[in-house]
Amino acid sequence: MSELRSSAWEPSRRELERRAVRRARARRDILVATVALVVVLGVLVVGITSAPGWARVRETFFNWDEAKDSFPQVIRGFGKNVVIFLVAEPCILVVGAGVAVIRSTVSPLMLPFRVLAVVYADVFRGIPTILLVYLAGIGLPALELRGLTTNTMWLGTGALVASYGAYVSEVFRAGIESIHPSQLASADTLGLSRWQSMIHVILPQATRRVAPPLLNDFISLQKDTALLSVIFVFEAMFSAQDYTNYHFNYTPLVVAAVLFICLTIPLTRFTDWVARRMMRREFAGVVK
């Protein structure tokens, strides 16, 4: 907002009155918001803690001593979750982008790969991830294929990559198809081959455009690493369950949940920031 600069300008009385009214209104809004927050929180807290079973629930789920005792075991398991998603995520991006690119080819040579890509995306989005994890961790080693690891952590990670790769390939495909056709025309005009256009022009833009949904999938992946507990990977959730089974107290599960939240909340805020920045960039031209 550029205003006329005049060194001798003073607000008129009318303007001062208006400002006073706005200030008063702002104060009132803050007061209303605070009261509303206190009332809602108060109702929630009172409602929960005055439930008849609250003492028992607190003892069983929010027991500080149990939380302390189980923490070392749970956080050790959590280290495994971190490793799993740090390894899985880049693989997922590669698989997802690769499948999306394959689906966008037109060459007749690529037809079998295109068909495979469609089958892969459909099948692996259809099978529940937990089933895939189970099949990979227990079914695959039963085949006794030489050279295939029997370590369930890597088998499970592979299952996660296969499952999420299918979803992410759809996200990439949507991104690729959303690029303005003039971009492809510009690339064609410059003489770039289809492959060069994809690598240098389309894919970089598509990736930026779908960064928010990709980040969302990443956050979801972090939680789904807990699925590997079904194939005896001793990660955070299984570690918590094991402690629970010995002590008959569910607090370690709450501890594990808190650890997951500590990980995902910063990432969700980051995702929001990226999305906002992208909106600004995308619509910069329109605003102008």
Binding site: H180, S182, Q183, A185, S186, A187, D188, T189, L190, G191, L192, S193, Q196, H200, V201, P204, Q205, R208, R281, A284, G285, K288
Partner: protein, 247 residues
């Protein structure tokens, strides 16, 4: 002269049942500046896209640099690397800097080394007053700067023929002049161009030939003095009257 740069004979283009271009004849000599004028939907853009092999044609022959390029066995990529085209909008690749935009094709298509490509790009950017934009991303530039950069990018591949599709149509009026200035410079230096445009005054100034397209046909063509001052066809006259009155 039989050594025309571009020769279009009896070109026909349909979209399904709709005929968008028919009986198009056009000859472009080296250093010609051909302006295509006509109302929206008259087929100007389609014609340019057909010349660039972005669209297939339904009949007719296009010969470029002595070879028939409308032959399906011809590699369109090789043809396009000898032509340059600039569109109305969304030309530049937003994720790359202007410099990277300009060096992408020379490096990847023409096999130029990075340093050489950058040198050529810098030289051209400087010539057209854009040297301080080299490191910027397109979203940080005004529309006029973007179109000028798009022109430079097209020139970096050293094309023998430049196709410009209403490149000032999407710009604010005060930015149009900068872009037209570059086009004029290029025309004066002898760059062969075919441009579709609404800027009549500009067309009259720089064109060697003006073609008036109406309903998919070249209704009239000739030197600008003839077309603008004393057109033969009634429809040409009406079109010019409408456009010039509004402008």
């Amino acid at each position: 002269m039989t050594d025309a740069l571009l020769e279009v004979t009896d070109l026909r283009k349909c979209y399904g049942d709709k005929v968008v271009l028919s009986q198009i004849h056009l000859t472009v000599q080296p250093h010609d500046v051909v302006c295509l004028i006509g109302s929206s939907g008259s087929g100007k853009s389609t014609l340019l896209r057909c010349l660039n092999l972005l669209e297939g044609i339904d009949d007719g022959v296009i010969r470029f640099e002595g070879r028939e390029i409308s032959d399906p066995r011809v590699d369109p990529r090789a043809v396009r690397s000898r032509m340059g085209m600039v569109f109305q909008a969304y030309n530049l690749f937003p994720h790359l800097t202007v410099l990277d935009n300009c060096t992408l094709a020379p490096r990847r298509v023409h096999g130029l080394a990075k340093a050489d490509a950058e040198q050529r790009a810098h030289h051209l950017l400087e010539r057209f007053g854009l040297s301080d934009q080299a490191g910027k991303h397109p979203d940080r530039m005004s529309g006029g700067q973007q179109q000028r950069a798009a022109l430079v990018r097209a020139l970096c591949t050293q094309p023998t023929l430049l196709l410009l599709d209403e490149i000032t149509a999407a710009l604010d009026p005060e930015l149009v002049g900068d872009v037209l200035r570059i086009v004029r410079e290029l025309a004066e230096q002898g760059t062969t161009m075919i441009l579709a445009t609404h800027e009549m005054a500009f067309a009259r100034d720089i064109a060697t030939t003006v073609c008036f397209l109406d309903d998919g046909r070249i209704l009239e063509h000739g030197p600008p003095a003839e077309i603008f001052s004393d057109p033969r066809e009634e429809r040409t006259r009406r079109f010019l009257a409408r456009v010039l009155a509004a402008g």
